[in-house]
Amino acid sequence: MLTAHRLHKRYGEQVALQALDLDIAPGQIYALLGPNGAGKTTTIQCFLGFLQPDGGQVRVDGIDPSTDPASARTRLAYIPEQVNLYGQFTGDENLHYFAELGGHRYSRREREALLADAGLQAAAFDQRVSAYSKGMRQKVGIAIALAKQARALLLDEPTSGLDPSASHEFSRLLQGMADRGVAILMATHDLFRAREVATRVGIMRGGVIRRELAPSELDARDLEAIYLEVMAA
């Protein structure tokens, strides 16, 4: 579903991605771990078609997002690190707006269901987003992703700034989406959450995935040790 083959990207002299290979099938949750500047966000932006690779290939369901971004993006949903929405709209209005952009029309009831699935409290549906906490905005972002009925989901630091229960809820949602066949790429610092929810983990440094493993084979401390080992190498 989401594939990258020998993906290269430079910013001037600086190499952001170096021969990156990635293959995420439907139903898989791939956690991309790494420090700031490792190339995680760049990878996501290449899948979105926001950045043009300097070499290699990137495909979303077989579509090249740099040549046909519109088609690629209809298959993708994206939740950025900071889910910023239109403050003058309510949560429901934002969902309505973005869903329309995504080509989907939902009734009020359906939108309420989506927001509820994303974990947003009913009392907040008709409040202006300018009054929302970060977690609440995150939930609207998830609802928007759900509304898109996309076949792939890209997440950039989705749990940063969330409290543990919100984080747990989020992991539950991800699992549900993966069970429905969505391919998920999640860039994160959160080793614990990665181990908990990911099917595979890639540890990235200097634009390259240094180690790739299945976290079910490890416990959290082992994952941490491997991560630190990769960083130190």
């Binding site: 971004p69 403050g87 003058q88 709209f89 309505h96």
Partner: protein
Amino acid sequence: MSMTRLARLLVQEWRLFAANRSNLVLLTVLAALLGFSVANGVGRVNATQAAQQEAVAAATARWADARSQFVEITEGRREKQQFDDATRADLVLMSQRNALVLKPTPLALLSVGPAREGHDIVAVGVQARGAAGAASRENPAIRLDGPLDAAFVITWLLPLMLIVLSYDVLSRDREQQVAHMLASQGVGLGVIVLARLAVRFVAVFALTAGIVTVGVALVMQGELSRAIADLALWLSALAVFIAFWLALAAGVNARTKNSAAAGLTLMGFWIVISLLLPVVASQLLSGASAAPQRLDSVLGRRALDAELTELAAEVTERYYAENPARRPQTPAINEYEQYFVESYYPRQVALDAQFEPLARLVAARKVEQAERLRTAALFSPSMAMKMLTDDVAGYAPERWHRFDTAAAEFQAKWRAFYDIKFASRTPLTLDDYDDAPRVAYRDEHPHARAVRNTLPAIGLLLAILLAALAAHARLRRAGP
């Protein structure tokens, strides 16, 4: 993207637009300014129409009064007086001034133009024709401040409002970091920007067009087809003008991440297009094609008058030699009458004939200036919009020139009809009253205005084309 989906997108963008209270406040301010200026325009046009009707009625009444007095005299019910005798051509015709009026165009409410008082009424009789009224007493400091008419609001304030409504049409999403979410939905950013601008276009155009159309309906006196033609021309220009400023905003926003910078850039465009280019054009024009110098014509006319006065006897004799039927058959009634009939009038005819080319020169210079300004308007949409608005409001020198020519023709007809009586001291008859030449002036067709404004219209179209092409080129590659 299907039409249905586009329509739904437009609905969503309208909701987003309306959710921002400052947009609605701005539209309210625009409506208030336009409403105020249009209402004043309606009042002004109504006052002109009333003054014109009054002037025509007064001239008609004066003629009818003179006719009644003539009938009373011929029936023996009234005595002839030295200075009040309706059978005497000199007394009746020296005081009879027919009112020729240039009716306001249907869109006259849009602009005060360069006009002073006078309500476009020309007094025509055997004497020299002129504006029916004295020179204006209006305070020049007030005139200098300028009128708050719809032309001012639309030419200079409307673009500013469009800039405020659209300067952050995409840059704000970038600043607030919504742009990535937006771009990831599968609709191109260009389509989203287009939809947003379409919403703004519809809001501003509908508001402006609606208010102006109501105003036109209030002042229109019959002439529906002309009103529709003028309105169609002007509304088309308005649509292109609004679209131009929105396209500029799109082009600037395509790559800008900073709304303040986008706003400043658009203000810069406004200053160049609405202030600098017109100032430069105005300065160049004042050098290359200066406004006509009336002082030369004033001195010229006075010199002619003095010369003809010196040769008064010769002028009179030449007049009678060329027009034998006008030689007086009876002696003068008194020295006043003798002066007017045998000295003043032949001199006046000679003066008008010799001075007419000079007067035409003044009109020709104004037409030349207008033509050059229309050429300059190719480079500034604001100039183009102002010129076109002033033209449909009736202030083109060509329109006045046409009217003045008709007034001159009517005067020639009037003089040809009456001056034989006046000059030869032949008493008037009832037929002279009843068969008086009638005024029947039909204003230029709106088509003439459209043709005249070809260059400003091309200027507007070129501007929107360039802006739209630039915006399209920049938006194609626009990312979050």
